[in-house]
């Protein structure tokens, strides 16, 4: 089992393109770390640097306290599962898992032990004699993981391993991977652009953009306390609603003015805005769709109400998404399916004022959560 440390890691290509900038992260033993971000943000490049498949331009990578910058991939005690896996069609599941070890001239009895152990972990024991064409998509994916497990590595690196699967299978495999982490008890670093995968699997998430780490935190904290506008927008589906508002401070109380309506803020948020000197300035207000409601009980006691005309109504069974415009900005609300709102109807919305996020318009950094 292993801990990793990435200190001031940079990746710069000969043509001057900087894919990763000043990446710092300490990964504890047995952690499930997720690198998430839009495509081209440097997450796969970072993973490949950990694997040794890309040179580190500057900075230090340590595994268990040992500097690994110049160590060959095969000597780093890691195993990888990537997106475009292929199983050898003419080999059985057993041979597919054993193949890499055979070519590395590992003794037969060791191979047998490793394969049977991996098969047991992955629930593939009954399928060891089958050929890939006789397996389902999920079973094939498990065999691909088995090829990594047989190496008995200190660290698993996974680069979007579920991207090629359909939506249903992806959900199923997600829980399989979570179970696998519990059973193996190893350190896993997992790259994805899918924030649902990130939220459900990771013990900690690293959000990246343009080669720069934006925030490293637990899924819940990342969702509740994003450090900037990008993280706030990236985590959560549908994404957080953003509105340009004016900050008004009277005494110790701050409020945000939207379309002539004052949205009062609690003492903590007021203090942050006051201390930052935001009085009279335009700031960005963020509110998640689930923190807006049209429920009659919640409307009754609300301090501020907003009127809107519904553009689109989407029923998802357990919840409803309502799309509308507020002060010219497109908004989404996630409401109870009992809502009577329909396209074209006029609806009043209330906000959970404690859940409002405020961001600096210029720097895009969070002022208060």
């Amino acid at each position: 089992m292993a801990s990793l440390s990435l200190e001031h890691i940079y990746k710069k290509y000969p043509n001057g393109f900087e894919a990763v900038k000043d990446f710092n992260l300490d990964i504890k033993d047995k952690e499930f770390i997720i690198f998430v971000g839009p495509s081209g943000c440097g997450k796969s490049t970072t993973l490949r640097m950990i694997a040794g498949l890309e040179d580190i331009s500057s900075g230090t990578l340590k595994i268990d306290g040992k500097v690994m910058n110049d160590v060959e991939p095969k000597d780093r005690d890691i195993a990888m599962v990537f997106q475009n896996y292929a199983l050898y069609p003419h080999m059985t599941v057993y041979d597919n898992m054993a193949f890499g070890l055979k070519l590395r001239k590992v003794p037969k009895d060791e191979i047998d032990k490793a394969v049977r152990n991996a098969a047991k972990i992955l629930d593939l024991t009954q399928l060891l004699d089958r050929k890939p064409k006789a397996l389902s998509g999920g079973q094939r994916q498990r065999v691909a993981m088995g090829r990594a497990i047989v190496r008995n590595p200190k660290v698993f690196l996974m680069d979007e391993p579920l991207s090629n699967l359909d939506a249903k299978l992806r959900v199923q495999m997600r829980s399989e991977i979570a179970k696998l982490h519990q059973r193996l008890g190893t350190t896993i670093i997992y790259v994805t652009h899918d924030q649902t995968e990130a939220m459900t699997l990771g013990t900690r998430i690293v959000v990246m953009k343009d080669g720069v780490v934006q925030q490293v935190d637990t899924p819940q904290h990342l969702y509740d306390k994003p450090c900037n506008l990008f993280v706030a927008g990236f985590m959560g589906s549908p994404q957080m609603n953003f509105l340009d508002v004016t900050c008004q401070i009277e005494g110790d109380k701050a409020c945000l003015v939207l379309d002539g309506k004052k949205i009062p803020l609690n003492a903590e948020k007021s203090k942050a805005l006051k201390d930052g000197g935001y009085n009279g300035k335009t700031v960005v207000m963020g509110i998640r769709p689930e923190h807006m409601t049209d429920h009659p009980d919640r409307i009754k006691g609300a301090e501020v109400l907003f009127d809107a005309k519904i553009n689109v109504y989407e029923l998802l069974g357990a919840e409803v998404f309502l799309y509308f415009d507020l002060a010219g900005t497109p908004m989404t609300a996630r409401v109870d399916p009992s809502t009577t709102a329909r396209p074209g109807s006029d609806v009043q919305f209330a906000m959970d004022l404690d859940k409002i996020h405020v961001f600096d318009k210029e720097t895009e950094k969070t002022i208060c959560n």
Partner: protein, 363 residues
């Protein structure tokens, strides 16, 4: 010649099924392969047997049989035992080894054929004839995928990891032209099936990364409709590899069809490139732009020459960015806030990269 290890594996499998022990010796009686409990037959006896007209002999407690390749005796197989059952199993073993030798020869010939085909060493008439002999269909849409191993040291063979996926059975062939690259000749459904080639290229990268732990770069040429044009696809793949290495170092898969402006610059003669650089920068050639300047320029280009967006991305004040751009303008005479100057600068940077590559190559 087929490897002794393959013959040994084959014999061991037969022994585990039949319980008959085997030994294979060459025509001089030298040991080639044997199962663990088999005794070697006297070399003199073997060479004597090989000179005789008979195909099999029983000597004491063993049968000796000839193994032929193209009618010529290559080995003698000894099977320990004197029963009819032993003779039957020995015949199966001979047949098995002969088939293995035939398959190996065909594979070797195919390798040889494809290597010569890719390097334009064959006449059209020879291509037809040899393809027919080797059971290679002439008119199938195919493209050449070039896999270059970038890892410095490796004790694994990339071809071993790919040969199980891309098989002749599916119309795909693997060959090597040097120790650092593997060539995949990939058959596809139609001449427009570039998705299939791209997918195969991605599989090569991911398989070699994960299984062989090798760092590779893959390029591919256009799809050609028959064998005689395969060398064209190979040349394109080679060019794509070079252009990718110079201009698109961050990409692992490079298609000849998507080389962009790099394709044009790559075709320019070096003296013309030097004239262009001199024309743009005069005597102040920014040979080694510092990291900060290069990052600033690249970020500025990536953000469509937008000053506010670039300063935000770089976490610097807008005025700092403007100062850096003006400093660059003073030293190069190009104001990259202006589209034409930005275009010239971008091309000049690419040309400089190309010249650097050429200098390194010459060196």
């Amino acid at each position: 010649m087929i490897s002794a290890q393959i013959v040994k594996n084959c014999l061991e499998e037969l022994t585990s099924i039949s319980k008959v022990e085997f030994c294979v010796q060459d025509t001089n009686g030298a040991l080639y392969a044997r199962t663990s409990n088999a005794e070697i037959t006297d070399p003199g006896m073997i060479s004597n047997f090989c000179r005789q007209a008979v195909d099999s002999q029983i000597i004491g407690d063993r049968y000796i049989l000839k193994v032929r390749e193209d009618e010529e005796v290559t080995f003698a197989l000894t099977a320990i035992g004197s029963s009819d059952y032993t003779l039957m199993v020995a015949r199966i073993a001979v047949s098995e080894i002969q088939n293995l030798m035939h398959a190996y020869k065909e594979k070797y010939d195919r390798n040889n054929f494809f290597q010569n085909l890719l390097l334009d060493n064959l006449l059209l008439v020879d291509i037809h004839n040899r393809a027919k002999k080797l059971h290679i269909i002439f008119t199938v849409p195919r493209a050449v995928v070039l896999i270059e191993i970038e890892s410095e040291e490796s004790d694994t063979n990339a071809e071993d990891f790919l040969s199980g996926i891309f098989t002749a059975h599916n119309g795909d062939y693997l060959t090597e032209v040097d120790e650092n690259s593997v060539i995949l000749i990939k058959a596809v459904d139609t001449t427009e099936s570039y998705d299939q080639i791209q997918q195969a290229a991605q599989v090569c990268v991911d398989m070699l990364n994960t299984e062989a732990m090798l760092n590779v770069r893959v390029s591919y040429g256009t799809i050609v409709d028959d064998l005689k044009n395969l060398s064209k696809s190979y040349k394109e793949a080679k060019m794509a590899m070079d252009v990718g290495r110079i201009f698109y170092a961050d990409r692992k898969v490079i298609s000849y069809n998507e080389l962009g402006i790099g394709r044009l610059i790559y075709q320019l003669p070096s003296n013309l490139c030097r004239v262009f650089i001199k024309e743009v920068f005069g005597d102040n050639i920014p040979d080694n732009l510092d990291n900060e300047t290069l990052t600033t320029i690249n970020t500025f280009f990536d953000n469509n020459l937008n000053v506010s967006e670039t300063s935000r991305k770089l976490f610097i004040h807008r005025n700092t960015l403007v100062y850096r751009i003006e400093k660059l303008q003073k030293s190069t005479g190009l104001d990259i806030r202006n589209f034409e100057d930005a275009l010239t600068f971008k091309i000049a940077l690419m040309v400089m990269n190309y010249l650097k590559y050429l200098d390194q190559k010459d060196y």
